[in-house]
Symmetry: C2
Subunit: 216 residues, 2 copies
DNA sequence: GTCTATACAGTGATAGAC
DNA sequence: GTCTATCACTGTATAGAC
């Protein structure tokens, strides 16, 4: 009836794939990934249940699309911060600055409306087996990871490459685990600390990780 | 026909719940958790599909039972190693010894036949939301975690409690992530290091974590 | 090309017969 | 206690309307 291409009323009107992704994101954040069926998503989006398969191919493909969509801001912000790093006269960055450039864009996502769902999706991609999911992760993150590794190597010129890789792996672990907010430490300490405090998490994480990277 | 209570032939004969758990563990390790249905499990176990619900209540309850079953050896070994720690004349253990007592029992599980499934289950429990799963984790690990935290506090008398908690949380992250073998570092470094090398992982992990705990 | 209606095999769960 | 029958629901596939 009304114009369909220009002037998208307020918000609810959008292309079908977009509506599906929006509905999926909202429902996932409310009830987890397994707790939501494709039919619920398409119903909430106001589209037919088969259209999800037409546009995406499968439920998993919907998850992967949503993941890639929400990952790109992190990547872009990381790239920007990495490029803006101050270097000394030997071209070396400060370790803490590199860590900040890598970790802050990820951790800050927790304060956004998209954060919860993205973290769920990421944790699933990372920790569930399956070649497809690992390929998605590789396509998404490998380039920035390599860039970060090169900068870390410059910041730590005396560290053997092998140790550097191990420690980068460990850092990824703390990051993913912290973002997933498993609530373990809250349970043990009876809520005396809150890992959902992003600012504190970032400060603590950088101090801890920097010391780990500098270990003998 | 033959005796049913005593003398369990070779192995395949066992109580129905045990057979279900055995079949579940084998199938999960082969094809992941979501890739296996309760019907497949009960069929492989040679029992009726309804018996799983009769004995356990739900598919999730089967997972939780299996998780608790495989977690207890880790807990016991941890307790034993923690109790056997050498203390100095002030009653203080060496940081690296505490970390070894905590991490070794977990990481060594990766070399056992049960390891793969347990790690899958643990990752799911930790990262999926849901009060029930968190309760299972708390019931399983909280006591040993508290014991470990006390020993860490003794090994690091000058570290503020808050920082100690944060760093313990970070250590849990590296441990869970490393055990889950997400293959990220292998992807970035084209298999130049293998996080599946348990011995190397343990050495690297302890050096890295000890430095993190000792950070200023 | 996009969307709809409909159908299918397989899922976890349950009530009730044996 | 165990098994059969059946439930509502899932992800997926396809034929055909616009």
């Amino acid at each position: 009836m009304t114009a369909r291409k220009s002037v998208p009323a307020t918000e609810p009107l959008a292309t079908t794939p977009e509506r599906i992704l929006q509905a999926a994101e909202r429902l996932f954040s409310e009830r987890g990934i397994d707790g939501v069926s494709l039919r619920e998503i398409t119903t909430a989006a106001g589209v037919n249940s088969a259209s999800a398969h037409y546009h995406f191919g499968s439920k998993n493909a919907v998850l992967e699309t949503l993941f890639s969509l929400r990952a790109s801001p992190i990547i872009e912000r990381r790239e920007a911060m990495l490029s803006a790093l101050q270097l000394d006269r030997l071209g070396r960055p400060v370790l803490e600055d590199v860590l900040m450039a890598f970790l802050q864009p990820a951790l800050e996502l927790l304060n956004t409306p998209h954060g919860a769902t993205f973290t769920l999706l990421r944790a699933r991609m990372v920790l569930e087996s399956g070649d497809v999911k690992h390929q998605v992760l590789a396509r998404t993150f490998d380039r920035t990871n390599e860039k970060t590794l090169k900068l870390l190597a410059k910041a730590l010129p005396k560290l053997p490459t092998k140790d550097l890789y191990w420690r980068f792996h460990f850092m990824l672990g703390t990051m993913v685990y912290t973002m997933a907010q498993p609530g373990r430490i809250e349970s043990v300490t009876k809520d005396k600390i809150k890992t959902s405090d992003t600012q504190a998490a970032l400060e603590q994480l950088i101090r801890y990780t920097a010391a780990g990277f500098r270990a003998p």
